[in-house]
Every structure is written in structure tokens, then in C-alpha cells.
């Protein structure tokens, strides 16, 4: 199929780690796409049509066929554009990649957010502990690899962009010392490699507006105390 006949659209919001995952995948594959910035406070008809179940971004639309859920989208991209593979070819390695990506979603994403954005101190502490524990698993899993995917980054690295770019922002805002090179030397080193990788660098949102937005949210949270 000629490139010009492919219709690829991504509905997202700037500053979303989940949207970013998809952008990294598309960049890696060199896929041209149309980006539609959504306003989550005033969701477009398009978003509601393409993701009626969750009404969330990212939503990936390929030739009028919508797919929501960032990791589902990334696997779809990998299966549709086969060069620069994101998942390994061996079934066991694929299973491990899927496991650790899910682990990040289940055990890191929520806890890390709540480690900062929770008013109740006890609740917040609990989430700090949970985040720490989860990051420790990942530290151990990384071992001496350059990326979770080996010499090149893969599914788990893409899923972990949340850790590499967003967690440092949260913790700066919240004055939290969680993800540091002292606590997680390997993971920290990985995060530097990853955010500086040309494909990733070009896909990340600009830090300042994201920081400002998240800081405002933090302040309004404390104000509501």
C-alpha cells in the first residue's frame, strides 16, 4: 500500500505519557500521521465516536479503524509496520516483554502519581513505598542491559517512558526523592540513555509546559486541603 493511501491519525493530549508511548512507536517505525490535540475538558465528537467505552486518549486510527489503549496500540503498530521491531521474535521473550509492560501499568503508574498527588499523608506514604518496591523490581530486571529490550529499546522501554520522563517531574514538584541514581543506579542510567535516544527525544513533549501544568494541579490539590 502506498504511503499516501494510508490514513493514520493519533488523538492525544500533549503531556500524556500514554500518548507519548504511541508517538515513540510511530517515530521508530517512521510512520507519518496526523495528530489531533484533544481537549479532555471538552471531548470532541471524534474522540467519543472512536473510544466510546473509555472516552480517553490515546486513540489510534488507521484507515478509519480506531484502537484505544496505549499498549494495545503499540503492539498493533509493531504488527502492522514490521521493520525496527518493538517486540522480540521469541515467544518467551515476548511474554516477558508483555509481562513487564503490564507490570509498569499495574504497579508503577498509579502508585507513582499517588506518591505525590495525594493529600492524605498516610495514603501518600503508602504509595511512595509501593512505588519504591515496584521500581526495585524493574531495577533488578534491567540487570546490565542498555535497554530493557537489549541493545535497542523495545516494548518495556516504551512503556517505561513514564518512569524516565514523568516521574522525575512529579518528584520535583512534590519534593520527593524516589527515583534517584542512589536508589536505582541502573534504572536511572537507563532513563538517561532512553530520554536522549534520538527517536525518543523527538517524541517527548517539551518539559516546561508539562511541568507547569502538573505543578498547577499539585497546587490546586494542596489548596483544596
Amino acid at each position: 500500500m502506498a504511503a499516501s493511501q494510508e490514513e493514520v491519525t493519533l488523538l492525544g493530549v500533549t503531556g500524556s505519557a500514554f500518548v507519548c508511548r504511541v508517538q515513540i512507536a510511530l517515530k521508530l517505525k517512521g510512520v507519518e500521521y496526523k495528530y489531533v490535540e484533544e481537549n479532555l475538558g471538552n471531548k470532541s465528537d471524534l474522540l467519543l465516536k472512536y473510544n466510546p467505552v473509555y472516552k480517553k486518549v490515546p486513540v489510534f486510527v488507521h484507515n478509519e479503524k480506531p484502537i484505544p489503549e496505549s499498549l494495545v496500540i503499540v503492539e498493533y503498530i509493531d504488527e502492522t509496520w514490521k521493520h525496527n521491531p518493538i517486540l522480540p521474535s521469541d515467544p518467551y521473550q515476548r511474554a516477558l516483554a508483555r509481562f513487564w509492560s503490564k507490570f509498569i501499568d499495574d504497579r508503577v503508574v498509579g502508585a507513582a502519581w499517588k506518591a505525590v498527588y495525594t493529600v492524605d499523608e498516610e495514603e501518600r506514604e503508602k504509595n511512595v513505598e509501593e512505588s519504591f518496591e515496584a521500581l526495585q523490581f524493574l531495577e533488578n530486571e534491567l540487570k546490565d542491559k542498555k535497554f530493557f529490550g537489549g541493545e535497542e529499546f523495545g516494548l518495556v522501554d516504551i512503556a517505561a517512558v513514564y518512569i524516565a520522563f514523568w516521574i522525575p517531574i512529579f518528584q520535583e514538584i512534590g519534593g520527593l526523592e524516589l527515583f534517584t541514581s542512589e536508589n536505582f543506579p541502573k534504572l536511572y542510567k537507563w532513563s538517561q540513555e532512553f530520554v536522549n535516544h534520538p527517536v525518543v527525544k523527538e517524541s517527548l513533549p517539551p518539559r516546561d509546559p508539562v511541568f507547569a501544568f502538573l505543578k498547577r494541579r499539585y497546587e490546586s490539590l494542596s489548596a483544596s486541603k
Binding site: V53, H62, K65, I67, P68, E69, V72, I73, E75, Y76, E79, T80, P91, Y92, R94, A95, L96, R98, F99, K102, F137
Partner: protein
């Protein structure tokens, strides 16, 4: 591929658990021989500590001594490792949809039903029942063929055995009425189609262990994860 390429397959799980069951059903569909190792919640078994020391969860599929955890990850692994009776569709878009709906059932359905069954506060319970019905309605709307997988059982149907078998069991236990033929005719019919399939009939667990475990959980009312 050599006749005995399968190697050694073990499944560590709980009898009566919907997560363990999905893997059993998948292995049966593929005609894969395996050894079932029953784990017991009360006593953290030696087997679990051996095969899943970090996360301590079942089911665990062990193939040639390599452990794989997380039921959805295991299902994809089984599909990729054993040929015949495909669990996921071949084309990337239907595959993405199958993954999306399987995740939906796991993330929305199970927790909604658990909440509806375990909440004692009447108002909260009513809310949870409403939520469960919303979820079931979404599935009702999504079902277009005989099975979610089309003419034959697929990933979503396998994961959906929770709705076909466990949901009615829970309803009976706590006196709830959720999946009725009046409210959800297609889903209701589908559940009967699924339960009547020989491959399902032959593999469904007895209800008692599940009832016992569920009752115990209700009584302790520990928050589920």
C-alpha cells in the same frame, strides 16, 4: 518441528480460579499436554516459591522450566507456541480489538461484579450493581457473532468465561441478578453456547472450591487486587 517440540509443560494454579481456568481452557483447545500442579492459597507452596518467587501469583505456566505469569500474557504465549485452533485472530486490527476487549473484561467486569457482590452498604451496592450492568451492556453491544471470536472461541470468549460461569455462580451465592436473558439476550445466549461447548464442559472446575474461597473472602472482606 520435532514431534515432541512441546517439551515439559506445567501449570501451577488454583482449582476454581477463573484466571487459572483460562489457561487450562487454552491448553485444552491447543491439545497441549501438561501437568497441573495445584497450589493452595493458605500455604504458600514450595512450587510457587520456586516458579514465581518474586510476584507470588498464580497461574504460572512453566514451559521447559521457563515460568510465565499473568493469565493474559500466558494466553498469548500459548497461542504463539502451539499451532492449530488459534486463540487470537490473524489480522492486526482484529487482534488489537481482541486484546482491548480481553483487557476490558479483566479491568472493568471483574471488579464491578466483585464490588456488587461484596458491598454491604445498600446505596454503594446499588451503584455497583448499576456499574456491573453498564459493563454487561457494553459487552452485549459488542457481541455480533456466535462468539466474540466469531464462529469459534477466541481470546475474548476465553477471558469471558468469567461472565459465563463465575458470574452466575456469584449471583447464586449472594442473591444477585445481573446476567438475565431479558436484559442481555445476546450475552445470555452466548454464555450458554460457551458452557455447552465440549471443550469447556470437559474442563470447567467444580463450583465448590470457588464457592468456598469466595465465601472466605467475603467474610474477611480484604480488599482485592
Amino acid at each position: 518441528m520435532a514431534e515432541n517440540h512441546e517439551g515439559e509443560v506445567k501449570l501451577l494454579g488454583f482449582v476454581g480460579s477463573p484466571f487459572t481456568y483460562r489457561v487450562q481452557l487454552a491448553l485444552k483447545l491447543k491439545g497441549a499436554q501438561y501437568e497441573f500442579l495445584e497450589d493452595n492459597l493458605e500455604h504458600q507452596s514450595q512450587l510457587l516459591l520456586k516458579y514465581n518467587p518474586i510476584h507470588k501469583k498464580v497461574p504460572v505456566l512453566v514451559h521447559n522450566e521457563k515460568p510465565i505469569i499473568e493469565s493474559l500474557v500466558i494466553l498469548e504465549y500459548v497461542d504463539e507456541t502451539w499451532n492449530g485452533n488459534p486463540i487470537l485472530p490473524e489480522e492486526p486490527y482484529p487482534r488489537a480489538l481482541a486484546r482491548f476487549w480481553a483487557k476490558f473484561i479483566d479491568e472493568k467486569c471483574l471488579s464491578a461484579v466483585w464490588k456488587a457482590a461484596s458491598t454491604f452498604d445498600e446505596k454503594e451496592r446499588e451503584k455497583a450493581v448499576e456499574e456491573s450492568q453498564e459493563v454487561l451492556q457494553i459487552l452485549e453491544n459488542e457481541l455480533k457473532d456466535k462468539f466474540f471470536g466469531g464462529e469459534a472461541l477466541g481470546l475474548v470468549d476465553i477471558v469471558g468465561t468469567f461472565v459465563a460461569f463465575w458470574l452466575p455462580a456469584i449471583e447464586q451465592l449472594v442473591g444477585l441478578e445481573l446476567l438475565t436473558s431479558e436484559k442481555f439476550p445476546k450475552l445470555y445466549n452466548w454464555s450458554h453456547e460457551v458452557l455447552n461447548l465440549p471443550v469447556v464442559k470437559e474442563t470447567l472446575p467444580p463450583r465448590e472450591p470457588f464457592f468456598a474461597a469466595f465465601k472466605a473472602r467475603l467474610e474477611s472482606l480484604t480488599p482485592s487486587k
